[in-house]
């Protein structure tokens, strides 16, 4: 290569004279975001422009989703006034849909940070445009999940009694209880996920500050804290991101393990099992990765991010999903095999209920969505790169994982060691409204955030584009990886 080529800005692509080579380069550029650099101002524009776009559809969705969130609020107020008796909760099923939602949304909140942190640690290149969308999903899902134990409280306004601080009531939370571990773990995970997302956002807020006027400029000026991109700032930011990446992965594993201990530490048959920790973690990652793919697909369509989110990214995520599906199958088999082998009467009853009882439609739908469908479709690259097909698969995974949590919580809780105390949980209106409201809340927060937060980490994409290159080996062009340490 000549000296000039080193000095050429990366967004200028002179085409080689060799027509075959030029064709190949063109093809690679279409395939890979990092090989298709553009003038940075155009990239900035591609991220900032959708944030200004609030069409009729956006407001319509906002009103619908906001209305559902308001319905949650109203239902919650009614429930606080009349008590939990207006829900379907009754002995022996005292944990039902609220706890299902709690576990489900904590699970969805797992993938974001995992994708962002683990793929950063492993230096996986296709993470670059995804990480922001994943991190924000984590934050919103966790906020929603954290509300559910409070919704489930009889006196929701006394939730702060869980916090350890010297108080005039002279009560102190007992750290012997798994519920307190839960609170500590979720507070750690939620606050650190927000900080993790914020640290990576600083350069993008600075970018937004430099290219906006009016109140948005003021907002981003405050949020970017005066970021200029000096060497010191980048150096300290990288150190902090490294600390967070390595720190948040074990925290993430611990969070869902502790959620599973809320169940496994009891003596309830079907819950009291050592496999619950890893089983929950894998299930969380499984549903979380599927949720991130869905969010990516919606954001790509709704915000016209086709330049950033390409089929290669969906392909990578879908492979990850397939891998997690296999792992989930393994753990689920474990969770069923061991009780089956023990032939404990209660466990047998629960198993019979799943395979042939009133729960069997739910059970078979879950097996179809979580085991059969991913394994049957995701091996195919055509499905993995087709965004509508992948969206449908991910939707089924979501349904399957929700049903799985439903089977674990109210169905299992209906059968215990004392047959006189068995019961079937039925869904009442209040918890149904609140559940719909929970999904709406995540969507609502995401809608609002998509107009305030640059959903694509521009600096990471730009860095990847500067570092990535093509090398010709024989007749073929090969992508070279170059992420320096």
């Amino acid at each position: 290569m000549s000296e000039r080529q080193h000095d050429r800005p990366i967004w200028r692509h002179p085409m080689p004279k060799d027509e075959d080579l030029a064709h190949q380069i063109e093809h690679e550029r279409e395939q890979h975001l990092l090989l298709d650099p553009r003038y940075p101002l155009h990239i900035d524009e591609g991220v900032l422009d959708p944030m200004y776009r609030q069409g009729r559809l956006f407001w319509l969705v906002c009103v619908i989703v906001g209305g559902l969130v308001a319905a949650w609020g109203a239902t919650w107020l009614v429930q606080m006034f009349y008590g939990l008796g207006i829900t379907g909760l009754k002995r022996p099923v005292m944990w039902a849909l609220y706890i299902v939602n709690f576990v489900y949304f904590i699970g969805v909140g797992h993938a974001g940070t995992f994708i962002s942190a683990a793929l950063r640690v492993l230096k996986v290149e296709w993470r670059r445009p995804i990480s922001r969308a994943a991190e924000t999903l984590t934050v919103f899902a966790l906020i929603t999940a954290a509300m559910f134990p409070i919704v489930h409280l009889g006196r929701s306004w006394k939730f702060y009694w869980l916090l350890p601080y010297p108080n005039e009531r002279q009560i102190w939370p007992s750290y012997h209880s798994p519920l307190l571990w839960d609170l500590t773990a979720i507070l750690t995970y939620l606050s650190c996920s927000i900080l993790f997302a914020y640290i990576a956002l600083l350069p993008d807020f600075a970018m937004a500050r430099d290219h906006t006027i009016g109140w948005r400029h003021t907002l981003y000026d405050i949020l970017s804290l005066g970021w200029r991109g000096t060497e010191r700032e980048w150096g300290n930011q990288e150190t902090a991101l490294n600390v967070f990446s390595f720190g948040i992965i074990p925290v993430m594993f611990s969070v869902h393990t502790i959620v599973s201990w809320d169940f496994a530490m009891t003596l309830q048959p079907g819950w009291h099992s050592t496999v619950f920790g890893p089983y929950f973690v894998i299930g969380a990652l499984f549903s979380g990765v599927a949720a991130v793919i869905m969010v990516m697909a919606i954001a790509r369509k709704g915000m016209r991010l086709e330049y950033f989110l390409r089929p290669e990214h969906f392909d990578g995520m879908a492979k990850f999903l397939l891998l997690l599906s296999f792992a989930w199958d393994y753990f689920y088999f474990n969770d069923v095999l061991v009780p089956w082998y023990g032939q404990d009467p209660v466990e047998k009853t629960i198993f019979a209920l799943l395979t042939g009882g009133y729960v069997s439609p739910i059970f078979y739908l879950m097996i179809f969505s979580n085991v059969i469908l991913p394994a049957a479709t995701l091996w195919s690259k055509r499905v993995r790169t087709s965004i509508p097909a992948l969206f449908v698969v991910c939707l089924f995974v979501q349904i399957g994982m929700y049903l799985e949590r439903y089977i674990i919580v109210p169905v299992t809780l209906g059968q215990n060691y004392l047959p006189f105390d068995w019961g079937v949980y039925t869904l009442y209106l209040p918890e149904s409204l609140i559940t719909v409201g929970a999904f709406a809340l995540v969507a609502f927060l995401y809608l609002i955030a998509s107009r305030f937060i640059p959903l694509i980490p521009v600096w990471e994409v730009y860095e990847g584009q500067v570092l990535q290159g093509l090398r010709r080996i024989g007749r073929a062009l090969v992508k070279t990886r170059a992420e320096p340490d």
């Binding site: 000095d7 800005p9 967004w11 003038y39 940075p40 101002l41 350890p164 601080y165 010297p166 108080n167 005039e168 009531r169 102190w172 007992s174 750290y175 012997h176 307190l180 571990w181 500590t184 773990a185 507070l187 750690t188 606050s191 650190c192 900080l195 993790f196 914020y198 640290i199 350069p203 600075a206 970018m207 500050r209 430099d210 804290l225 005066g226 970021w227 200029r228 991109g229 000096t230 060497e231 010191r232 980048w234 150096g235 300290n236 930011q237 150190t239 902090a240 600390v243 967070f244 720190g247 948040i248 074990p250 925290v251 611990s254 521009v458 600096w459 730009y462 860095e463 500067v466 320096p484």
Partner: protein, 363 residues
């Protein structure tokens, strides 16, 4: 002699690195130069010394603080105020490990975040020398020079293709002097208090002060150091003992919730005549509900009587037979001593049938 702050913008890394090399040849130290960019260029790419931050150290300090907090919450408090629960020891190890892990990670990450902000001198309130084109992929070289070197440096920047250029006169030194002498130390102290980019220090000092003072006040309130005059303590609230009088009389038309049976001196309901039908029913019911304690003949030698203390009453005795039907009815309804209430097992009519039968048990 006035000093100048210069900013030149470049398109690419290579001319930037060349510029920095030439500046070094002119005698400008690495401390006087900084590079601004829209992506993290590695120091080696630009021929710059590697930045050595202190975020790691803060992270370790944060981890230790977090671990100490966790141990205080899980071990310290429980040793100060021991309370056995769940058959567990006062400070069981596994839960302590869980809390210690979580709070340690919390401390580590918060400390690294806060130290990153502090080390980066965030938040920066003062307007700084900057060019928004930095976030468009341009690389800015920012440096501070003496008046005599300023023109020379400007020439170097322009010769290397700096397409944009800013030059600002700076009264106070932008970069703190480094060194070990007493004079250097005094200059650093002066810069720390009144230097050009110390806004972030004042900010963090204010935050820290508010936290410390607020936390101290908050912590002292429950101990009554700052007495607040609303009755939050139970001992200050009105206290009424169990069934403490004066009790109000029941309204004239009121009936006890259990029904008229319990009004002393009145018959519960009209007793059923002791005909053959009633006696037969009484015998059957007696055989179901009463026989296990009072025995088939009513002398109190039922199969369970050996386990009971006091012993079941001898229904044939004169003292039992001497009490009124209503009193027996009350005993069956409410229970007495070891005898439970049989109101759930025997309906009102059933009780009268049993009473009729018991009257026949007389010796």
């Amino acid at each position: 002699m006035s000093r100048y702050v210069l900013l030149g913008l470049f398109h690419e890394a290579t001319p930037t690195a060349n510029t920095i090399e030439q500046l070094r040849a002119v005698g400008i130290s690495d401390d006087q130069v900084t590079v601004m960019s829209g992506m993290p260029y590695r120091p080696e790419m630009l021929g710059r010394p590697r930045h050595r931050g202190r975020v790691w150290r803060f992270a370790i300090v944060g981890a230790l603080l977090g671990a100490a907090t966790a141990l205080f919450l899980t071990v310290g408090v429980w040793l100060l105020y021991p309370l056995v629960q769940g058959g567990q020891p006062i400070t069981p190890i596994p839960p302590t490990l869980i809390i210690a892990f979580e709070v340690t990670m919390l401390g580590t990450m918060w400390a690294s975040f806060l130290s990153m902000l502090f080390e980066n001198r965030f938040p920066a309130f003062k307007s700084q020398l900057y060019d928004p084109r930095v976030t468009e992929g341009h690389i800015g070289v920012l440096l501070e020079v003496d008046e005599k070197l300023a023109d020379q440096v400007e020439a170097i920047l322009k010769a290397n293709g700096a397409h944009h250029f800013q030059r600002v006169e700076e009264k106070r030194p932008l970069f703190k002097p480094r060194g070990g002498t007493w004079q250097d130390f005094k200059e650093r102290i002066a810069a720390a208090i009144g230097g050009p980019d110390v806004g972030h220090r004042k900010f963090w000092l204010a935050v820290l002060t508010i936290l410390v003072i607020g936390g101290a006040i908050g912590a002292l309130v429950p101990y009554g150091v700052f007495p607040i005059s609303f009755p939050t303590q139970m001992e200050n609230q009105i206290s009424i003992a169990y069934e403490q009088g004066p009790r109000r009389a029941a309204p004239a038309a009121a009936v006890p919730v259990q029904g008229p049976v319990l009004i002393a001196g009145l018959p519960a309901t009209a007793p059923i005549p002791a005909n053959a039908n009633s006696l037969q029913r009484g015998e059957v019911l007696y055989g179901v509900t009463c026989i296990v304690c009072h025995g088939a003949t009513g002398v109190g030698n039922g199969k369970l009587s050996g386990f009971l203390s006091p012993k079941p009453a001898d229904l044939t005795s004169a003292s039992i037979q001497g009490i009124s039907d209503d009193a027996i009815f009350l005993v069956i309804t409410q229970g007495l001593d070891a005898m439970p209430s049989l109101a759930e097992n025997l309906g009102v009519q059933d009780r009268w049938d049993v009473i009729n039968y018991v009257r026949r048990l007389k010796k």
